[in-house]
């Protein structure tokens, strides 16, 4: 039996977007891949409310939205702990929750991580662009206007009733960013001096405030990095760590441009991108070089 659940966006929060698995396949036209930055948390959210993996979720960044529900439905909140509460009472994450007309979901202080995900049981009635609901950072207002939450917006979901579930504690997000992020050498790895490579792997980097879904700028520069020549624009992918002419490393994320002209030092392995997604400005990050052989069959495939 289907019925409607409406999400009234009372406050959009700092930056709340609709995200799914993105739009791979259009990169030859310069379209960023997009999609939830922490794919695992988004997938667990959908799983808890019995949605297919392709169903969109709300990606909630640091300061969450205020949402009032109209109708009856089911939700689950995963990813970062941003102090969610339902009608003023703190609510459980990683668990299927029933919501009724008039219920209000709010978020408070960010406790752990950067991005929380709100999954809602049922089919989301929203426009798609190139097969995906995902908002994009550049030109988002023009290309994916309904997917960047605004005050007063109403999102309608044809709700369904899932089996109530709780996700095991061990499988939840916990203390992101403690172990080094695994990388493979990038296409221009050999153009960097031993000194630069040595300092890249021994140094601790800080995520700069000048960071968004396109990429994280890292505060600490690779001093004395001198690009030998200008590169001809070439492809970049989420996880690419490129280094500007001034030696600043930029870690590219899902909304990055598809091409660039900077030296590509390294690439974060797919599986560690979910960890990256939970880092916020000011957080620290270290990198470890993965031996070439270990990357053969794809880290994300060998869970």
């Amino acid at each position: 039996m289907s019925r409607e659940l409406k999400l009234h966006i009372i406050k959009p929060g700092l930056f709340t977007t609709v995200q799914d698995q993105g739009r791979p396949g259009y990169q030859a036209f310069g379209v960023p891949i997009s999609g939830a930055l922490d794919q695992k948390s988004a997938a667990v959210g959908n799983l808890l409310v019995n949605n297919s993996a392709q169903t969109p979720v709300l990606e909630i960044t640091m300061m969450g939205p205020t949402i009032q529900f109209e109708g009856v439905g089911w939700i689950a909140i995963t990813g970062a702990n941003l102090s969610p509460s339902l009608n003023g009472v703190p609510c459980q994450q990683y668990q299927t929750l029933a919501v009724n007309s008039g219920d209000t979901l709010k978020f408070g202080r960010p406790i752990d991580g950067c991005r929380a995900y709100l999954a809602v049981a049922g089919e989301w009635i929203l426009p798609k662009w190139l097969g995906s609901y995902s908002a994009i950072t550049q030109n988002g207002a023009q290309l994916t206007p309904a997917s960047i939450l605004t005050k007063g917006q109403i999102i309608t979901i044809t709700s369904s009733t899932p089996t109530s579930r709780t996700w095991p504690v061990e499988g939840r997000l916990s203390g992101a960013g403690t172990s080094p992020i695994r990388v493979l050498p990038g296409p221009e790895f050999e153009s960097f001096s031993r000194f630069n490579i040595g300092s890249f792997f021994s140094q601790t980097f800080t995520i700069s405030p000048d960071s968004n879904r396109m990429g994280y700028r890292l505060k600490e520069c690779l001093s004395s990095f001198k690009p030998e020549k200008e590169l001809i624009s070439s492809g970049v992918i989420p996880g690419t760590i490129q280094v500007t002419g001034a030696g600043q490393p930029i870690l590219l994320l899902a909304d990055a441009q598809t091409t660039g002209g900077y030296y590509r030092l390294a690439n974060v392995v797919g599986k560690d991108m979910d960890v990256i997604a939970q880092l916020k400005p000011g957080d620290q990050i270290r990198f470890a070089l993965l031996l070439d052989k270990a990357g053969d069959e794809g880290i994300s495939a060998s869970v």
Binding site: Q27, V31, I232, S233, V269
Partner: protein, 238 residues
């Protein structure tokens, strides 16, 4: 000659001779199509650029080794040398200073009338080398040497959509409003991107472009026709 490098744990990069050259770019495009045809769903996406091809694949279906040895075979078999017909598009551009925000400054540095810049810009046949930077942004070349220039020292925060611009040895068109450092010399009334259509991109890599100078009045006429879906783009295959 090609060189294949690992690009992350689910990607690879095929580097061709690092040169902006139509023959090399032809091979990039042909190889990108051949790989997609051969491996279909095992390929998540491809990014053909001037002289490189980025491929992201599903490592559960195909490994780096299998994919790279097959790419070498495809390349050796000359999959990059097939004669394909080139799509030739005539793109109207209005060079009026209302749209060509930098045209007067640029001409001043050269001591040209604006007509001189227009003549030089519409003269060559350009090749679409790649799309990138923004959804639907086209990188075209090669610009005649007399038009080649450095980027603006201060990039504009908002370049209007459909602006035609030049920088380095390239000319390009902004599909939508965006920040940008290229010199704006005109605007096309064409829609480069129709957001709600699946195949809504006007250009693709490998296309040949001939610019045609139009007046402000013609611009307005064509703009209306484009909005109503009545404008027929001059297209031929050569």
């Amino acid at each position: 000659m090609i060189e294949i490098k690992r690009f992350g744990d689910q990607g690879l990069l095929v580097n061709f001779e690092q040169k902006i050259d139509p023959a090399i770019n032809d091979k990039v495009i042909a190889l990108s199509e051949a790989v997609r045809t051969q491996f279909s769903a095992a390929i998540r996406f491809v990014i053909p650029a001037y002289c490189s091809l980025t491929i992201q694949y599903d490592p559960g279906l195909v490994s780096f080794q299998v994919l790279s040895s097959h790419i070498h075979r495809l390349f050796k078999k000359g999959k990059g040398d097939q004669a394909r017909k080139t799509r030739h598009l005539v793109v109207p551009v209005c060079y009026d200073p209302v749209f060509g925000l930098d045209i007067e400054d640029f001409c001043q540095t050269k001591a040209w009338e604006t007509a001189e810049l227009i003549r030089r810009h519409v003269e060559p046949l350009y090749r679409v080398y790649m799309l990138g930077f923004l959804p639907g942004f086209v990188y075209m070349g090669k610009l005649p040497e007399t038009l080649q220039c450095k980027r603006r020292s201060t990039p504009r925060l908002r370049v209007p959509e459909r602006s035609v611009a030049i920088a380095g040895a390239q000319t390009g068109i902004y599909p939508s409003e965006a920040p940008g450092g290229w010199h704006i010399i005109g605007r096309t009334p064409l829609a480069l991107m129709r957001p709600q259509e699946e195949e809504g991109f006007l250009f693709k890599a490998g296309d040949q472009v001939q610019f045609k100078s139009i007046t402000l009045e013609q611009y307005q006429e064509i703009e209306v026709q484009v909005e109503q879906g009545l404008y027929v783009l001059e297209t031929s295959y050569v």
